[in-house]
Subunit: 384 residues, 2 copies
Amino acid sequence: MLARQTARRTSSQLHQVRNMITAQAVVYTQHGEPKDVLTTHKYEIDDDNLDKNSIVIRTLGSPVNPSDINQIQGVYPSKPEKTTELGTAEPAAVCGNEGLFEVVKVGAGVSKFKAGDWCIPTKVNFGTWRTHALCSDEQMIKVPNPADCKARGREPLTVNQGATISVNPLTAYLMLTHYVKLEPGKDWFIQNGGNSAVGRYASQIGALLGINSISVVRDRPNFEEFARKLSTENGATHVITEEQNNSREFGPEVKKWTKATGGEIKLALNCVGGKSSAGVARKLAPNGLMLTYGGMSMQPVTLPTSLHIFKNITSAGFWVTQLLKSDLDLKLRTLSQIIEWYETRQLKDSPSHENHFSPDADLAACYIHAVDSSKQGKQLVVYQ
Amino acid sequence: MLARQTARRTSSQLHQVRNMITAQAVVYTQHGEPKDVLTTHKYEIDDDNLDKNSIVIRTLGSPVNPSDINQIQGVYPSKPEKTTELGTAEPAAVCGNEGLFEVVKVGAGVSKFKAGDWCIPTKVNFGTWRTHALCSDEQMIKVPNPADCKARGREPLTVNQGATISVNPLTAYLMLTHYVKLEPGKDWFIQNGGNSAVGRYASQIGALLGINSISVVRDRPNFEEFARKLSTENGATHVITEEQNNSREFGPEVKKWTKATGGEIKLALNCVGGKSSAGVARKLAPNGLMLTYGGMSMQPVTLPTSLHIFKNITSAGFWVTQLLKSDLDLKLRTLSQIIEWYETRQLKDSPSHENHFSPDADLAACYIHAVDSSKQGKQLVVYQ
């Protein structure tokens, strides 16, 4: 069914409709496994009769995040509202929370954007798995397009950088800066999942801020080479194995490192849980904080009682969605810092496998393929 | 060996020594099991030549706390300094952290105390397992003796109340009042170990403050009767079993209770750990806090990752020793509230098994017996 999404307008304007954009969106009407519940919905956007504050955007790229998949499955606490706004027979939601867009056309009252500008959604649940969108200018935040970057003598953002900026880099930056005061050149943080996307952003951002880091990774045959790479390319001060993390004998080695800088391990980042979380928490100095932002082992966060009572260790959670929900200013400031590091090539983005979508293909099929490939690494759907 | 503890004084005063008090203290020179390392040390206190700010006190009662035993074993992070101050051949420490004393004599410059006053140690590590002590007036806090209470038309404190006031009642009161704002008549706290000494203080103090409580206790044959008693005598609003605490099916029942008062469960108190800690944490409202003050199951604190990330539950530790170390004012205010509730018989103390010490018995043997009896319940050594 080809439905029509129009801006609100008077009936006298209806006859002016022409040259509509045919858009596609990946939607679901009920929760389940993506392959079972995702369909492509086609609808038209009337870009000749825009409301004053409306903009029409086209998608440059949008990633498949674990939270997007959990949202479709119905097991994620942040959920988009299901509506019939796009002309679906039943109330439906558009998938996807992150993405990079290009402005195609703007309403008469829009001064924040012009055609050709790049933007990302202001909030989650925008529905980024689609070719185009009609929305208000407030629903988008401007990010510099290649021309903007060049004009300032900077390197252009890549589509991958723009499309994946809102979750992982912001998570890493905010965990390192928003809770505990870490003294540059002296203090430390420790993290498990040191080779995860957030983990590599955290060690890089730590290095950019002058904060020392210990990245815990799973043991592997070529560990020495792997660790060296994580240090030289991703800024980790030290890289240790999960076995070392869990070993009491390794404690004094870590103490030597912190003694040498005259600082303390004041922060632990946990995305694994189970005994790995106990291991990183044990290395915290008294009054230290562990932030949990994931649970890859599927084991609960585990904390020896004595760490709570006698070392006053606190264990808290981090969810970028919740933190930034009511603090747009914090989001804008954080984005601005990450963009500056990208433009000056001081920060490397986490690479994605690109899935190219061509307009004659089926969009839902493209994303279902990307979801299936997620185990091989982060997937990005790139639009032509 | 009979040594002599004297206040610092000039050599010209030395000849005045007479009528000394023969004191006994339970000491250890090295850590180990109490029965292996505790000895009685006898020494004399020269109460005729007191320094200006010195006081001589005699012990009315002192309890055996788990932390006292752990301190002797060397596994407790707060440790008294070992000295030869009492005339021991090797540096030794006096056991015990809590106790109630009566002032026997005061130095010329002491205005805070007079003979007959009751007092408790200002700080931990005072060494309370002894018959007498010579100390400065700053090392003691006055508590009302029976005459003081009567003068104000109140009921007298008992020796058990005075001797055990510093740890358990203060722990319960401070956990309920120092971290989370609980709205009287509406809000709730949940605790495991609901039948422990701290647990019973917490439910009583909750009731006195108008805060609703859910006390989790181990299942037992006569549960209904036991629960009723914990409600009527110790103020618990609801009493549930560990099985109910761990059951997802029981969740809606708890929701009904909180809905009826229009409040939330904002605080969880954990002294068990393991799955019991996960159970009480699951019942917290978003942004709730779990305070851990013990680990009776010997299992680490366990927290489902999603509670941290999506419900923003924070898990922290509570240690009364550390909190009050640098905040004497908070200690005085809290003591004053507990004393008022005791004097007006609104708060019931946790009963202790009394071990009576007579001066011709061996003091270390008396405490070793009390330590051995600790599994049968809290032990108090009472002095004649």
